[in-house]
Symmetry: C3
Subunit: 274 residues, 3 copies
Amino acid sequence: MPAEESEMNTAPAPTAHDRTLDVAAQAGRLLTRLRAERTRVHAITNAAAQVLTANLLLAAGAIPSLTAAADEVPAFVTRAGALLINLGTLDGERRAAIPWAIASARAAARPWVLDPVFVDASPARRDLARLCLAGHPSVLRCNAAEFAALAEREPTVEGVREYAAALQAVVALTGPVDHVTDGTRSLLIENGHALMARTTAMGCAATALVAAFVALAPEDMLGAAAAALVVIGVAGEMAGETAGGPGSFPAAFLDVVDALDPAIIERRARVRAS
Amino acid sequence: MPAEESEMNTAPAPTAHDRTLDVAAQAGRLLTRLRAERTRVHAITNAAAQVLTANLLLAAGAIPSLTAAADEVPAFVTRAGALLINLGTLDGERRAAIPWAIASARAAARPWVLDPVFVDASPARRDLARLCLAGHPSVLRCNAAEFAALAEREPTVEGVREYAAALQAVVALTGPVDHVTDGTRSLLIENGHALMARTTAMGCAATALVAAFVALAPEDMLGAAAAALVVIGVAGEMAGETAGGPGSFPAAFLDVVDALDPAIIERRARVRAS
Amino acid sequence: MPAEESEMNTAPAPTAHDRTLDVAAQAGRLLTRLRAERTRVHAITNAAAQVLTANLLLAAGAIPSLTAAADEVPAFVTRAGALLINLGTLDGERRAAIPWAIASARAAARPWVLDPVFVDASPARRDLARLCLAGHPSVLRCNAAEFAALAEREPTVEGVREYAAALQAVVALTGPVDHVTDGTRSLLIENGHALMARTTAMGCAATALVAAFVALAPEDMLGAAAAALVVIGVAGEMAGETAGGPGSFPAAFLDVVDALDPAIIERRARVRAS
C-alpha cells in the first residue's frame, strides 16, 4: 500500500521513507542496548532450534536459557526479560511446562512471544496453540501456512491486520516479505536471503530476537518486533552474500549478527508502511 | 564377487561397470527429482542428530519434520513421503510415538527406514529394535556392530544378504565400504571420507536421505537406497578434500550436497555389484 | 600465590614454572593416549550441549554416547570409561536416569564428573545438584555463580579449595582464569578466549573432555582435570585467533582440537600453582 493511502488511516502512519528510517534506527538502538544490558530471554523451543536460538541470542548480546521443566520454568522466566514459546516440539515435558511459563510471564509482567511452528500439520497442535493465545502473547510470529491454519483466514495484509486487532497482539508474518502489524499499522520488511529458508530453525531463532527486543521496548511492541526482523533480514542477506551454501550459512549469519552496527542496518534496511 | 560370477545368479545382475553407471545415474535423477518435488520426510531421530538431519534434508531439497509426540505423529507421517525411525534416543516420548508412527506409515503405504543406533550397547534397545522390525521397514541401515547384535550373525556380504532375505527388506550396512542388498543382489559403494566418522550423526543424517530417495522410487528400493548412499559418499569425499577438520566438515558437507549435480556424481561414484 | 609461598604448604607444590610444564606435558600425553585408546564417555547432558559435546569428544579421539533412558544408562555407563552428568536439561527422563547412571558409575568404579549448569537459577535444581554430590563425583566443574549457589560461599581461591576438601573431590571453577583444586593443591589456568563465552555449551563440552582425561589418569584427578582445561583453553585461544566471530568459532575450535599436538600445548599452556 503506497504511503498516500496509509495516511488516510485514523492513526496516521509516517511516510514509507520515514518509517524505514524509524525502524532501522530503532533496530540499531535496540541492538546497541541489548549488547549493553545483556537481556535474558527464556526460550521453550523445539529440539532442532535450541542451539541456533541460544547462539543467536549470544551473538546479539542477550543471555539465553532453555529449560522446559515445569517446576523450574517459573524461576527462569521471572529472572528473564522476556519469554519465547515455540511449539515445534510438543513433548510431555514442554506441554506441562508451557502453561506455567506463560503464567509466570504474566505474573511478572514480562512480554512473551508465541511461535506456533507447524500448527498447520496437526489438529492437536492447532488446538494447543489456541489455548496459548488465550494467555495473551505480546507477539505472534508465524509463516503464511501457520497463520492460515491458526487464524482460519487468508494471510493477506488485511487478513493479518484483522487478526492482530482481534488478538490485541502484534502479529509478525514472516516470508519473502515480512509483515508486522499491531492491527492498526503495518510494516513490510523486504530484507532477507533465500538461504534463510534452507537451514533449519532460522525463523525459530529469529523469534527469540523478537522477544529480546520487545523486552527492551515494551512501549512500542510493533517497532521492536519489526526492528528485530530487520536485524535478522539484514544479517541474513549479508551472510547470504558470503556463505558457500546452506551448510556454512548459519555460522556466517551469527558472525554477521555479532559484527553488525547501526550504520550498516540503516544503510541496508528496506522497510515500508502499508 | 566379480561380474562373471554374478551373472550366474537367477536374477542376473549387470556387470559391475554397468551397475556403477546405473546407480550413479539413478542418484543424479533422484536428487534432481527431490529438488523439484520437495518430498517431505518425517524423522523420529535422536537428539544429537536432529539438526544435521533436518539440514541435510533441506540441503538436498527435501522438507523435514521431526515431531515425536504420539498424538501428532500420525498427521505428520501421513502428509510425508517417507518415515525414518532412529533409535538413538529412546526416551519415553519416542517409545510411545514410534509404534504409532510405524502404524501410520503402513496405513498410508509410506516406506519407512529403521536406524537401530547403538543396538549393540543395550539389550533393551535390541529388543525394541526387533519389535520395530516386525513392522516391516523398507530399509534397515546400520553399521557392522549394530548388525551383528541385531541379526546375531557376522556382517559378511553373505550374512547381510541372508538377513535381508529373511527380513524381506533392503539392508544397508555402512562402513568404509557400504553394502546395500535386498537379499538377492548386492551393491558395494566405495565412496566416502574418514572425516564422516569423526562428526556425530553423519550416518543418522544419511539414513534420512535414504528415506527421501525410497519415497521417490518405491519400485526400486535397492537402487534408491544405494543412490542415496552414493550421494552421501560423494559429497562426503568432496567435503573432506576442502574441510579444515572435523569441525568444519558438516558445513562443508551440506554446502557440497546443495551444489552437487548429476555429472559430478557420475564422475565420482564408485559402485560395484557383488 | 607466588611459588615461594606455595612451598610452605604441608603438601609442597612444585614451583609455578615446573607445574606449568607438568600440566602441559600431561595434557599432551593424555590427548595422545585418548587418540590411541579411544576412551568411551557417556554424557547425560543438556539438549543444547549434546551435539557440541559429542563432536568435541570425537575431535579429541574419544567415543561419545548420550543416552538418558533410565533402563539403558547402566549398560552404557558400564561400557564407558567415565560418566558426565550435566544438569542443564532436567526433564523427567534425565531426572529418572541420573541416579541410575551415578549408581552404575560407582558400581563399575568409573570416575564421574558433575556439571551443575544454572544451579543458581532454580532452587529445585540446586537441591537436585546437592543430591548428586552425595554420589561422590570425581570432579565438580562449574562457574562462579553456580559455585556460589551450590557451595554457599564466595568463589575465592580459598573458598573453592575449602569446598573441594569438604567434598573430597576435584573442583574446577572455570572463568577467565580456571581454578582447579583438590582441596590441597590449586592450579590456575590462564588460557582461553573471549569467544568461548559467546557460543552455547562450550563449558559443557569442555567438561566432557575432563571426564575423558580423568578416565585415563584416575590416579591423578587434579592433573587430569587441569590437563583437559589446558587443552580446551589452548584450542580456544587458537580458534579465537582465526574464527570470524562466534558463529564460526565452534567449527574452528573442533578443527584445532583435532590438529593439536603436544608441542603446541607445551608452548602455549599458561598454568601456575596457587
